[in-house]
């Protein structure tokens, strides 16, 4: 080998040292005996340690069983906490103690001499392979599958229809209703009044002050059969904006009332309730993935993963002075799906 200084000088001109075709097997490091191998005291100490860990496991199990009787579940909700805590700790420490003791036993006391066991070749020898093929062929010939078409057909049919016994219940349990059209509509109809969530009070426009936000359900929601399913689609957020802040979209001139606008609360991303309203910026945030909608500008997306503006509920004031829907939403509420147009952000509503 050249000395250090000449190596530095010549490095620029020489080719880098060629890497070897293959690396030599460095082999196993030299065997180092453990303390428990060399001294009887070391061995005794390891044995004691294993016994102590097993002992901790035994005590924990006993404590867990004691906890079950010491904290009866029916003596109040506070006891449930101590009951589950003591049973859990007893079970956990009991199991963990057995595991740790077993591993420590194996590491410290059992033989740690490295043993090399070469793997046998995976390919069988030619005579065995030929015998196996001959066995299979003899079996196929014996079954007579080629000259017994009835059995062949019966076998294939049985295998083919067997999965139906779990596929039919599986598909059938997806839902009792196959009316896909129900997804396209909510329970809002012409004249359905707006009511507060959760107590169902009707809303007059003069109650909705600028800067306030109302969480709205259709009046009569609690009388329908499937309250939660209908509520999940029909929830609406009602906001009043100062007239100079509100930008009314073409074609929606009569969808708002005196600065009061109503938008679906179901996020167009994956359907969380969009309800974090910042009254100073008019931005509506989704708590799940931070999609942000501008309520002053058609609830269009200004940030986040949502692709469509929130659907607007057209509203009016009915004969008795209550806020009511002018119609259902003109598009399906909720997450965008593959069958729906996804306008590019900012271009379309």
């Amino acid at each position: 080998m050249s000395n250090h200084s000449t190596e530095l000088e010549t490095r620029g001109e020489l080719d880098p040292a060629p890497s070897p075709e293959r690396f030599e097997n460095p082999g196993l490091p030299p065997h180092r005996p453990r303390l428990s191998d060399t001294s009887p005291e070391g061995s005794k100490r390891a044995e004691r340690q294993v016994a102590i860990i097993f002992g901790i496991s035994i005590l924990a199990t006993i404590a867990g069983v004691w906890g079950y009787f010491a904290f009866p579940m029916d003596a109040g909700v506070g006891n449930v906490r101590y009951s589950t805590l003591s049973i859990g700790l007893g079970l956990g420490i009991g199991m963990l103690g057995i595991g740790i003791a077993a591993v420590h036993w194996a590491k410290a006391l059992m033989s740690d001499v490295e043993v090399v066991d070469q793997r046998h070749p995976q390919r069988g020898d030619d005579a065995t392979r030929a015998a196996a093929v001959a066995d299979l062929q003899a079996g196929a010939k014996d079954s007579g599958i080629a000259r017994r078409p009835l059995l062949k057909g019966a076998l294939i049919t049985a295998v083919a229809i067997a999965p139906l016994s779990f596929l039919v219940p599986f598909v059938g349990n997806l839902g009792g209703s196959w009316n896909v059209n129900a997804m396209r509509h909510t329970m809002w109809r012409k004249g359905t009044r707006l009511a507060t969530d959760p107590d169902g009070r009707l809303i007059r426009p003069e109650m909705v002050t600028i800067g306030s936000v109302w969480h709205v359900i259709p009046d009569g929601l609690h009388e329908v059969d499937d309250v939660l399913a209908e509520k999940a689609k029909a929830i609406v957020l009602l906001v009043r904006l100062a007239p100079e802040d509100l930008k009314i979209l073409p074609g929606r001139e009569d969808w708002s009332y005196d600065g009061i606008v109503a938008y679906s609360k179901v996020c167009t991303h994956v359907g969380c309730p969009v309800a974090l309203y910042e009254q100073q910026t008019h931005h509506l945030l989704c708590p799940c993935h931070q999609s942000t909608f501008d309520v002053a500008d058609g609830a269009k997306v200004v940030f986040g993963p949502a692709k469509r503006a929130l659907p607007q509920l057209p509203i009016m004031v009915d004969d008795e002075g209550y806020l009511a829907a002018r119609d259902d939403f003109d598009e399906a509420v909720g997450p965008s799906t593959w069958e729906r147009q996804r306008p590019i952000r900012g271009e379309d509503y």
């Binding site: 906490r81 969530d197 306030s212 910042e278 009254q279 100073q280 708590p287 931070q290």
Partner: protein, 262 residues
């Protein structure tokens, strides 16, 4: 370098790292306790003193007659005594600097001065007044109904039990764990900063008291019956705990099983 490399391979290094990670998790939580203040009636002297205080401390942003300045501070005409009491008694106003969020801090004024300020602002225009003790008494509210109202109207920003949460551009909904019943009532009534207004037509005065009862219920021992709540901020702190402590323990166990006995 070599000392660091040796220290890194020390058998106690993973344990030390784990302890540091736990300390970092624990250090996240820090809160400031705002004091309470209640004021109901204002004498002519109060109003005059309040005007002086306003001119000296608030007028530079809100204008000499509280008319507000575009892009700097809103008009205070018609915000009422409740808004003044909420903003000043929690230390949010006067703000230390123009910033997206007005954080709570040690109030700059005492209860007497806050009463005087509120009295003057209340004369500018009709607005919500400071609620009475009776209106905010959690013992008279229905916590179960309060939970329904809170879940629909408040939980999305303030978290299901009132632990607070993030908004956009540096703004956030503060934790309600330290708020007094009066402050909670006033916040609903006046809609401070980014928060919308929840007028009495929207959430009735009884409903507001139910919400207060629900929030106070979260502070009792019974609310912690499920064990350590890790700040009650949901999957964030729980996930951090599992990733750092849970997976750290699994990695440590695997390393120990694979290591040779000495």
């Amino acid at each position: 370098m070599t000392a660091l490399a040796r220290a890194r391979r020390h058998r106690l290094a993973p344990v030390l790292l784990m302890l540091l990670a736990l300390l970092a998790v624990g250090g996240v939580y820090a809160v400031v306790a705002p004091p309470a203040a209640v004021a109901e009636t204002y004498s002519a002297d109060d109003v005059a003193a309040g005007q002086k205080l306003f001119q000296a401390n608030c007028a530079s942003c809100h204008g000499a007659s509280a008319e507000g300045r575009d892009g700097v501070a809103p008009s205070l005409i018609g915000v009422g005594a409740a808004a003044v009491n909420f903003q000043v008694a929690t230390g949010r106003m006067p703000m230390a600097a123009q910033a997206p969020q007005a954080p709570t801090k040690t109030p700059q004024f005492n209860a007497e001065q806050i009463k005087q300020l509120a009295g003057w602002v209340a004369t500018l225009g009709p607005g919500p007044s400071v609620p009475t003790e009776d209106m905010v008494d959690p013992a008279r509210g229905d916590a179960a109904n309060g939970m329904l109202i809170f879940r629909t109207n408040c939980a999305m920003c303030h978290n299901a039990v009132g632990a607070g949460g993030a908004l956009s551009n540096g703004k956030y909904a503060p934790s309600l764990f330290e708020s007094t019943p009066t402050e909670i009532y006033e916040a609903m009534l006046t809609g401070p900063q980014s928060m919308p207004v929840f007028s009495d037509a929207n959430i009735t005065p009884e409903g507001k008291r139910d919400v207060i009862a629900y929030l106070m219920e979260q502070r009792t021992a019974q609310a912690g019956v499920g064990g350590a709540n890790l700040g009650a901020v949901g999957p964030v702190s729980e996930g951090l705990w599992v990733w750092v402590v849970g997976m750290g323990a699994l990695v440590a166990a695997a390393v120990w099983i694979g290591a040779k006995s000495s």
